[in-house]
């Protein structure tokens, strides 16, 4: 009997403790209209060469929305045990990627895919994730929270945490004009994250400076790098039977350095198309010929994002080049017009590597708008 009375007392105490001095429970509903709502539109500056960005009409960029998104991005509050944030796998200095093959999630759990760079992710139009299962950033942002090997949380609980948080409830009001804490939802959190992700633009590499004449220095690319560029784009070096890397077929997309195509890049040896341990796009579409297809990621800042491929199985860029030079493992859905034995010489491989390194842009490191607001 004493136990029951104690339990009832504890429950009542907990409930009362959640109610603020004015009698409001942010979870049940707290009026926010005393906080001003005056969002400031944010105009993106698109660097030369990059395409337009599709910004949904129902989620225009605002200074307040982007800032809220930045805070959510860096805050482990989204995870079950408050140990994992988006930033855990998408680090500023690694092109918003990380440096492990498979990033550990809550409790050290390991999934089966490497994280992807978020640089210039706002320009993507042909699906997100390695398997393209999300069509918008607003949808993409919903997934990691409830993935058991990533954040392991449920959105219902995240919403409760955000509604109770004195700073977040204010910021949701300022970003989206909600009038009550109960309006703080996963959809709004995802919208804010999407807004922040759309600002993650990088296009100030040596390649950009040369290609778009941002720098008058005529020696921006060395001879080795220039030869690597030609191999990358299958241009002729001048000699007969000159080398072709066939890289740009999947990694051009103008200045995006991703054609946003889904390809079997011949890294997994299988007897039939049914045998891929990770079916990639095929698991989404159900098409047999989509099995083992993964999205070609951007090669911008690729030197900062080792290890490589969807499973993180290649530790270095040199090993990636060796793989493509070998032609990899044939399967019925490998486009062997470009994924084929390349017969690159040691010089060609060195040139290609040197060119890939010209795609590095670290200037955005210093942009305070990209940095962790909690540091």
């Amino acid at each position: 009997m004493k136990k029951i009375i104690f339990s009832i007392f504890l429950l009542l105490f907990t409930l009362v403790a959640c109610v603020d001095d004015e009698g409001n429970d942010p979870v049940l509903g707290e009026d926010l209209t005393n906080i001003s709502y005056n969002p400031t539109p944010h105009e993106l500056t698109i660097p030369p060469g990059l395409p337009s960005m599709n910004i949904p009409a129902n989620n225009p960029l605002t200074v307040e929305g982007i800032e809220l998104g930045r805070r959510l991005f860096y805050d482990p509050i989204l995870s079950k045990d408050s140990t994992i944030s988006c930033n855990s796998c998408h680090k500023l200095t690694n092109s918003f990627n990380d440096v492990v093959a498979i990033s550990p999630g809550v409790g050290g759990l390991i999934g089966n895919r490497s994280s992807m760079s978020l640089i210039n992710v706002g320009f993507q139009t042909n699906g997100l994730f390695w398997d393209g299962r999300s069509l918008t950033l607003e949808d993409q942002a919903l997934h990691p929270v409830e993935n058991p090997v990533e954040m392991g949380e449920v959105w219902k609980d995240v919403e409760v945490k955000l509604r109770r948080h004195p700073d977040y409830k204010k910021r949701f009001r300022q970003a989206f004009g909600i009038e009550n804490t109960v309006e703080i939802t996963k959809e709004l959190a995802a919208k804010a994250l999407a807004q922040f992700e759309r600002t993650l633009i990088s296009a100030n590499s040596r390649y950009d400076k040369k290609k778009f004449q941002l720098d008058p220095n005529p020696f921006l690319l060395s001879d080795l790098e220039s030869d690597g560029l030609k191999i990358y784009f299958d241009d002729q070096l001048g000699a007969p039977n000159d080398p072709k890397g066939h890289c740009a077929h999947c990694h051009d997309g103008s200045a995006l350095f991703s054609s946003e195509v889904y390809r079997n890049n011949a890294i997994t040896q299988v007897a039939t198309l049914n045998d891929f341990p990770d079916k990639g796009l095929g698991a989404i579409t159900g098409n047999l010929t989509d099995n083992g297809l993964f999205k070609a990621p951007t090669l911008r800042n690729i030197a900062l994002t080792a290890p490589y491929m969807h499973d993180g199985s290649f530790p270095t860029l040199e090993s990636v080049i060796e793989h493509y030079n070998s032609g990899g493992h044939f399967a019925d859905n490998v486009v062997i017009g470009s994924i084929t034995q390349l017969n690159l010489s040691e010089y060609d491989k060195a040139a290609l590597l040197a060119f890939l390194q010209t795609l590095t842009d670290t200037s955005y490191y210093d942009n305070p708008a990209f940095q962790n607001p909690f540091n």
């Binding site: 139009t125 042909n126 290609k211 740009a248 200045a255 859905n333 486009v335 062997i336």
Partner: protein, 259 residues
């Protein structure tokens, strides 16, 4: 003076309403249905297809831009441009049922009348064939296909992607020992204009179906002579030296397009 001003303003208001009162020209809806074939049969990707030299090929991708799609007027009917540019991608032709379907684009308010045929430019018009196309709205086909089809090194879109495997050793098995081909013609010089004359009339009533066919076989075979896919020089069209091949393949749209 004020009365005069009032009359003038009232008159302006009346005349500005005049257009709205006029009946609009009679029009209808046109569905442009594009189907891909291989030698007269629906093109099914990833299946063995007979090539004229006795060997086989297997297509893996087939898509293209069609631009300035224009209905050619006859008599009192004037030419009518349906659209500036469209992108047709037959990536879903993975089985016969899917391959029997057409890709359809619908155009509203097409003037009624008698037309003598259709004109299509295969490729991207020169005025749109540059990186600025990437700045177009997200609904524009050029923006939608920008990442996959704009080849920045050329400063041009790839007008057509025809990719597959040629059974080089003729063993009936497709694998790495065979010849992959990747024909990606682009640049203004390969833009190909095709006119097909076949009269039709747009009447009031149900939408009109304009059924077009792209026969890939006829991109590769002309007058019974097939492109030699065993020749490594014919495996792709990436370099400036490949422009003659790119022009040759694109020129075959004249016979590959059926209406």
């Amino acid at each position: 003076m004020y009365k005069l001003l009032f009359v003038l303003i009232a008159a302006l208001g009346i005349f500005s309403c005049k257009d709205d009162d006029q009946p609009t020209s009679p029009s209808t809806t046109v569905n442009l249905n594009f189907k891909a074939l291989y030698n007269g049969s629906p093109l099914v990707l990833f299946t063995a297809l007979d090539y004229p030299d006795g060997k086989q090929i297997r297509m893996q991708n087939f898509n293209f831009f069609a631009s300035n799609i224009t209905l050619l007027g006859e008599g009192t009917t004037v030419d009518h441009k349906l659209t500036e540019v469209e992108f047709f991608d037959f990536k879903d032709n993975l089985d016969l049922a899917a391959a029997q379907k057409s890709l359809t684009r619908t155009y509203e308010k097409v003037p009624l009348g008698t037309y003598k045929g259709i004109k299509i430019d295969f490729g991207v018009p020169a005025n749109l064939n540059n990186a600025d196309a990437g700045k177009l709205s997200s609904s524009n086909p050029l923006r939608q296909a920008f990442a996959s089809h704009f080849w920045s090194d050329w400063g041009s879109f790839i007008f057509m992607k025809s990719e597959g495997i040629y059974d080089l050793n003729g063993d009936g098995v497709f694998n790495q020992s065979d010849r992959g081909f990747e024909h990606h013609p682009g640049m203004d010089v390969v833009l190909t204009s095709v006119t097909k004359l076949k009269p039709f009339t747009l009447d009031k009533g149900a939408a009109f179906d304009l059924n077009l066919v792209a026969d890939v076989f006829k991109i590769y075979v002309e007058n019974g002579v097939a492109l030699d896919l065993a020749d490594p020089n014919n495996k792709d069209t990436q370099e400036l030296s490949d422009i003659p091949l790119a022009i040759e393949l694109m020129s075959r749209w004249e016979q590959a397009l059926e209406f």
